[in-house]
């Protein structure tokens, strides 16, 4: 039982219906399947990288048989009977028609019809037999294909690629994003799905699909997923954005390797008065830079008197086990007495090195 290996034993009936996720077969007149399929694949994941899931969509383009893709899908993701949880086979006539019309096309390029598709294993259609035949309105093309006006299927990737692939050139008609039900990244001709806009993942160049997604108040900052949270909660060591983005990139090493913390929406320097080696270790580790190579306290230049923003090491920081550096610092009513900033150089731990080859005297 691939889904529940721990409870599977020989007495259990493992078959169950699951939603079809194989992209090739998502426009079938049924939406649940059961495994193993008729090609011996144990899961939809296995089907998705199988030879057959490459072969059939390629063959569809030759127009060898109108219902080839439907047949292929009945093999790849067999219909699941909701009562018995057993797979429903294609009818023998569908299998034979597919094979008769398309096997010879494969032969031209030296490929063989899949071995597991012996049509005799499938039942003849009849009044008392349950097997699958295509309706006249079944989609001839898979969701990975574009249907030409002529009815032929060509790969979706060939749509609007500047080359005529349909016999009637219809794959190059109406090539704007809008016409294809997509969204055009501003300034480019790249099209993305509407669901990708403002989802926290940049898909367009210059993050254009993630701009202007938040309407935050002046006292708020926008999370990566476009939630708004109060500025005072930003980089305080506790997550407030549901994607934790208010605690990302809070600590950096600015010019001169000076430790800088982005708190409440502005940059702060860290007062070196109570700084320790443990904090240096924590900072380098948090930055993914290994351990500290050197640490020094550098005087604040006198050119900016009174304007520097300071954070101080919290007196109880040692009790806050497992916190990031920004959670161990606090604002105080006074400036840094020593006016020393923390300058830190980190050294990455060794990586990517192989042991030296041993020498054996001959």
């Amino acid at each position: 039982c691939p889904s529940t290996p721990s409870t599977c034993d020989a007495r259990n009936n493992c078959s169950h219906c699951e939603p079809i996720t194989l992209e090739l077969c998502m426009n079938l007149p049924y939406n649940s399947t059961t495994y193993p399929n008729y090609l011996g694949h144990a899961t939809q994941s296995e089907s998705s990288v199988s030879w057959e899931s490459s072969l059939f969509p390629a063959l569809v383009q030759t127009n060898c048989y109108k219902y080839l893709m439907f047949f292929a899908c009945t093999m790849l993701v067999p219909k699941c009977d909701s009562h018995t949880h057993q797979r429903v086979p294609p009818c023998r006539s569908l299998c034979r028609s597919s094979k008769e019309r398309c096997e010879s096309v494969l032969g031209i390029v030296g490929l063989q019809w899949p071995e597991d598709t012996d049509c005799n294993q499938f039942p003849e259609d009849g009044p008392s037999v349950t097997c699958l035949l295509p309706d006249p309105d079944v989609d001839e093309c898979s969701p990975s294909h574009f249907k030409c006006r002529s009815g032929r299927c060509v790969l979706s990737s060939k749509r609007c690629d500047g080359h005529m692939d349909c016999d009637d050139d219809s794959d190059e008609d109406n090539c704007g994003c809008v016409e294809r039900g997509l969204w055009e990244c501003p300034g480019t001709r790249l099209c993305i799905k509407h669901s990708m806009i403002c989802d926290g993942f940049p898909d367009c160049p210059l993050l254009k699909d993630e701009n202007n997604c938040s309407v935050c108040e002046d006292n708020e900052l926008a999370c990566n997923n476009h939630q708004c949270i109060h500025r005072t909660l930003w980089c305080d060591g506790t997550k407030h954005c549901s994607d934790s983005s208010d605690e990302w990139d809070c600590v950096s090493l600015s010019e001169g390797s000076v430790v800088t913390v982005f708190r409440t929406g502005v940059d702060y320097h860290v007062c070196g008065d109570d700084w320790t080696m443990d904090l240096s270790q924590l900072t380098c580790s948090q930055l993914g830079l290994g351990g500290p190579a050197s640490v020094s306290l550098v005087p604040d230049p006198p050119s900016v008197p009174g304007r520097r923003r300071w954070l101080h090491v919290h007196p109880d920081w040692r009790q806050r086990n497992g916190s990031a550096l920004q959670g161990l610092l606090e604002k105080r009513g006074h400036a840094c007495y020593s006016r020393n900033r923390v300058s830190l150089h980190c050294s990455r731990e060794d990586c990517g090195l192989r042991p030296a080859v041993r020498l054996y005297k001959r």
Partner: protein
């Protein structure tokens, strides 16, 4: 690995084996820190619980325990939130070990690429794993040298599927050296021109049915694309901000 050769013990000290009872080795993985490894998301389909897994490091022959062997349980599995099993996109997972490994000559992490650092097409890199060899599963770790292939050229081999920027292709048109079932999650590493250190650019993800007649290059998760996400996950889990 198809068309590879047996690897010398210790030559790839970041290679690990992701194992689950009762089958043993299921996927490859790659050590990137004392407590962190990478593998691909599809290895965990139907087996998402960390308790089911262990990570074995410092091993060459799966059938013979090595004196350098270290075994760790899995503390947590972080599958990329955009992983799409239908088209095998965003196929990457970060694995947190239950305790740090001891860094030795046989167990040590590989480097992650810097921002935007990608291997150039036609450079030669290595893949490793205990996956199928075309006629049998090996006991000893196999290694194979593969050529990096541009995305546009790769797309021409797989016109049924979209090769996305989250993927990297390597291998040969004839499929002479390629990764195969059981290599998933294992490394594609390239030696840096200066300094001799090795950088992880890919994780074995998918390809044609590697022991069939339909050949072509292998497709790997593009680690460079995911480097910021990987660092972020390690940071969030280390500091319990999740």
């Amino acid at each position: 690995i198809l068309g590879g050769r047996v690897s010398r013990p210790g030559r790839w000290p970041w290679q690990c084996s992701l194992q689950s009872d009762p089958s043993g080795h299921i996927c490859g993985c790659v050590l990137i820190g004392k407590k962190w490894a990478l593998t691909v998301a599809h290895c965990f389909e139907g087996r998402e619980s960390a308790d089911l897994w262990k990570v074995v490091l410092g091993i060459n022959n799966l059938d013979h325990p090595s004196p350098y062997l270290q075994t760790r349980g899995v503390e947590s599995i972080i599958v990329h939130p955009r992983y799409n099993r239908a088209v095998v996109d965003y196929d990457i997972s970060v694995v947190e070990l239950d305790r740090e490994v001891e860094v030795t000559g046989y167990v040590r992490p590989v480097c992650l690429p810097g921002n935007g650092q990608l291997p150039q097409p036609d450079t030669y890199c290595y893949i490793t794993g205990w996956g199928h060899m075309g006629n049998r599963m090996p006991f000893k770790l196999q290694e194979g040298e593969v050529r990096i292939i541009s995305l546009s050229q790769c797309q021409s081999y797989f016109d049924m599927k979209t090769i996305t920027s989250r993927m990297l292709c390597a291998g040969y048109e004839a499929g002479t050296v390629d990764s195969c079932m059981g290599d998933s999650g294992g490394p594609l590493v390239c030696e840096e021109p200066h300094g001799g250190s090795w950088t992880l650019y890919g994780l074995t993800s998918w390809g044609s049915v590697c022991f069939s007649k339909v050949l072509g290059p292998g497709v790997y998760s593009n680690v460079t694309h995911f480097t910021p996400w990987i660092h972020r996950q390690i940071y969030l889990h280390t500091f319990h901000l999740h």
